[in-house]
Symmetry: C2
Subunit: 333 residues, 2 copies
């Protein structure tokens, strides 16, 4: 008897192929084409037009990595794939994969991985022009799973003792966070700030939600634009992680100055524990930021509290947004 | 209470970043520079010259994926990294990562993942010219963990009832399989066939092992070259998986014709179980071949037995090479 072969190096050296297989399966729409069925290779060939050999090898590999189930010689979807990869599911996140594993990002991450560790940051996406199509893609592709989170954020805002009349949504993107708050408070006026092409997505979604008559947009950088003052609530979802601690503090100071007394700012971020190595998803997120931004990071609760205090807030607290891996961050004046 | 967040899609969409982090760590030689120590970020900065911020984020991520251990604010190597990633270990396989996650391969795998599934194969590495430097790199980078396997193969050959006098090593590469057999049988003459630049590596290793006076080399393709006949033993390690079932059969027919009666051919391959979805490493290997060769595959024991019989052998049997994930395949005349 020999000991089982336990060597994580093979798996990690080759784990880029898992992402490639997922991209292939999404492009061929394999998850949707399997759906609730138990599908043979012959059938899958008819449904996708791909080679039987390619499908057999791809589907076996997807089974190994847990995205398909194999039943003798046919394939079906396990719960997670049914829920998150079949396009007919409301939680389908294939579009997120298009963003997280976009050709541009993969090239950036692999061009010279040692270089961004050496320098402590990357050029790359953060330096892309405001009208780069990736920002519009980001706004569109994160909508599917931001929807439920945005409702949970709005529910939390409803728990405040005072109603909300003026809301600023920084880096609005799809705009769902501000839109859900506007839906919860029918008198609230919503101001959304983002790059001009992205605001077209925000406007579409506001229109669809019936709140477009209460939406004002400001095109440009949150760092540079004058967005006015006396807001009851300022939202900054998925924004702080792109920047250094110092830049976040500067931004939070500007936010603090434009809130009414007692007003709040609310962020949504991947917040790792203080050990920075758990839970896996938020802790791993820091590496993504290292590889694709000049100074971005995944901030812990104590980081966020410190930057809040440095900026003049009373402090910052975090709450889980489970089952999502993100946290809600509340900056109290 | 909410259910824990179980969604494999995030992990797989982003698993390319695990490979990138491993590449960065190997380039910066972080595993060797930590070695048996428990190293703070300050120390690691001195040892690598990299930014503290980059090192902190990289080392935290390496901890999340199991390649480092974090102890409060310093880092040490878990057993697997000590064994397989610290360059001072005899089993260090960083060089293999240079091959398995070579820039060329990653580009090929990500250029258009749906295309090789559609077509059932890829152009790419298999069509690279014989003098492409990747083949020499492959020969050099697979030596560290081929060494122990080659000794196990030679041990197996020693268990035969008759000694071996003439050995042909097809696609010799580093040549270690043939060299170990030549060491075990001091009268054996060894013929190695591979691309001319690769045979320089074979010759170097034969020299170092003291068997170069018994080595003859034939430069060129195993499919095309006349390699002579009446061999007692023909080795074809890590070769069949590059080709279609039919091409393997053709090659095996040529091999069968150049063995003495009672002679044997021996392969080393990743052999998945008949279900083709286990064990994970050999089963996953088929996707690598799909993405990087026109017709390659990971063959099961029954595939190998069938191609052996089609080629005129009595059959093929497989034996584990544990703790390595590969199997030894014996083709009996």
């Amino acid at each position: 008897m020999t000991a089982p072969f336990i060597n994580p190096v093979f798996d990690i050296a080759l784990s880029y192929q898992k992402t490639a297989a997922l991209i292939a399966a999404l492009k061929l729409d394999i998850f949707t084409k399997i759906g609730g069925d138990n599908v043979s290779l012959d059938d899958l060939q008819v449904r996708t037009g791909a080679s039987q050999r390619g499908l057999r090898i791809l589907c076996d590999y997807l089974t190994v990595i847990g995205l398909l189930q194999k039943n003798e010689t046919s394939y079906s979807l396990p719960y997670a794939s049914r829920n998150f990869l079949d396009k007919s599911s409301p939680l389908a996140m294939g579009a997120f994969v298009d963003f997280a594993a976009a050709q541009e990002t993969i090239e950036l991450v692999f061009r010279d991985p040692a270089s961004y560790v050496m320098r402590g940051g990357s050029e790359g996406l953060a330096l892309m022009s405001p009208d780069h199509p990736i920002w519009v893609r980001y706004a569109r592709t994160t909508m599917s799973f931001a929807g439920a989170k945005a409702k949970r954020v709005a529910k939390f805002v409803e728990s405040f003792s005072e109603p909300v009349y003026t809301v600023l949504d920084i880096s609005a993107g799809h705009g769902l966070y501000g839109i859900e708050v506007a839906k919860a408070f029918p008198d609230a006026l919503l101001t959304a700030i983002d790059w001009a092409p992205v605001l077209e997505v925000t406007k579409e979604n506001a229109q669809a939600a019936g709140v477009s008559d209460r939406l004002r947009t400001i095109a440009g950088s949150a760092m540079e634009q004058d967005w006015g003052s006396d807001y009851d609530l300022i939202l900054l979802p998925n924004f702080l992680h792109h920047f250094s601690f110092e830049t976040c503090t500067t931004l939070l100071r500007k936010i603090k100055a434009s809130l009414i007394p007692g007003g709040r700012a609310i962020g949504v971020e991947f917040v790792p524990n203080e050990d920075r190595i758990s839970p896996p998803m938020p802790a791993s997120f820091a590496f993504w930021m290292l590889a694709t931004t000049p100074e971005g990071d995944a901030y812990t609760t104590s980081d966020l509290d410190k930057m809040a205090r440095d900026a003049g807030f009373a402090g910052a607290t975090t709450r889980p947004l489970a089952p999502d891996p993100d946290s809600l961050i509340i900056f109290e004046t």
